[in-house]
Amino acid sequence: MKLSFLAALAMGLVAAPAFAADSVGAGILKSQCISCHAVVKPDNASLDRLWERKGPDLYYAGSKFNRPWLEKWLQNPVRIRPAGELYTKHIKGSDKEDVVDESTMAAHVKLSQADAEAVAEALMALTGPAGLVSKGAFKGDKVSMSMGAMFFNKLRGCAACHQAKPGTGGSSGPELYTAAERLQPDYLYSYIKNPQAIDPHIWMPTLNLAEPDLQRLTGYILQLSASEGK
């Protein structure tokens, strides 16, 4: 634990975050969150750092998440990435395909309602570097679910790594049937367009998708829900 803190310190992960230091939420972030999550942009954006970190970066949480979802999730944290992060650390071989090694999965800290609300407020203040997310990029057009599904499954291969409905699809990427509840539309659009620009070295490929594809996939994912297709 001490070592990992020193390592984080050495990599510049532990520093004064950019929110009011005296707020309750900021205090909780500092005491409970920064040992696993970066709340300021790390100087080190290497692949090794991706392997070192214990949880997703939060320094742009305010440009990524929907606040109501954050408040809910922090009180009742459930797994979003079926194989955890980084997936390679949480899988093992079997007679058939690789499976999740549940023994390596640790539960996330659970907060009271008051603390969750305070932390959500502090996180929403962390908007990250200017231009990280293209504001207004997603046009909000409704898309045909059958057309979207064809793109998602067959034409662009997203289902290889992501689940568009519970229990079906890949496990190395986050489930997407909860994406609309979790994520801001422009963040989703920007991430699909260039995951590496937001999360350097992440194991999602950058597919050079054309604008209509980006709109279609973002719209399709936002229209998914946990109940759909069950």
């Binding site: 692949l47 090794d48 991706l50 392997w51 070192e52 194989a83 980084l86 997936y87 390679t88 650390k89 899988i91 093992k92 071989g93 058939k96 395909e97 690789d98 499976v99 999740v100 067959k154 034409l155 662009r156 291969g157 289902a159 290889a160 790594c161 079906t168 699809g169 890949g170 496990s171 190395s172 260039n194 590496q196 070295h201 194991w203 490929p205 950058t206 597919l207 050079n208």
Partner: protein
Amino acid sequence: MKMNFGQRVPAFLRAGLLMASCFVFSGPASADEPYTQGALRNYNTYCVQCHGINRNGRGINSRDMSVQPRDHSDAKGMGDIPNEEIFHVIKDGGLAVNKSVLMPAWGNVMNDEEIKELVAYLRFVCNCGSGK
């Protein structure tokens, strides 16, 4: 042969994890290990999700795939593919060589040098010669 390979692989992975904890970056290839640590790290980051921790095409994502990922431990199957084609498919994706869209293009994630090193690593994994 396959069994032996499957038993060898976890040692590579342990080496990879050890490397992660020591902040060691890619070193030169040696005679015993004719691949770079950077290639091993890239494989464990990007390829394992589909091609599997045992490099046998049975990755965590493979269960529901309509086309199964290639078995990198298959000396015959891999031996038939020239280095140029392996490089091309990693950089530009499956569609570029009339294969599955499920193999994405990694050219925006790894540079040409890294992909070349990955090709060398794949030759080590398949134990199928130099591909030249």
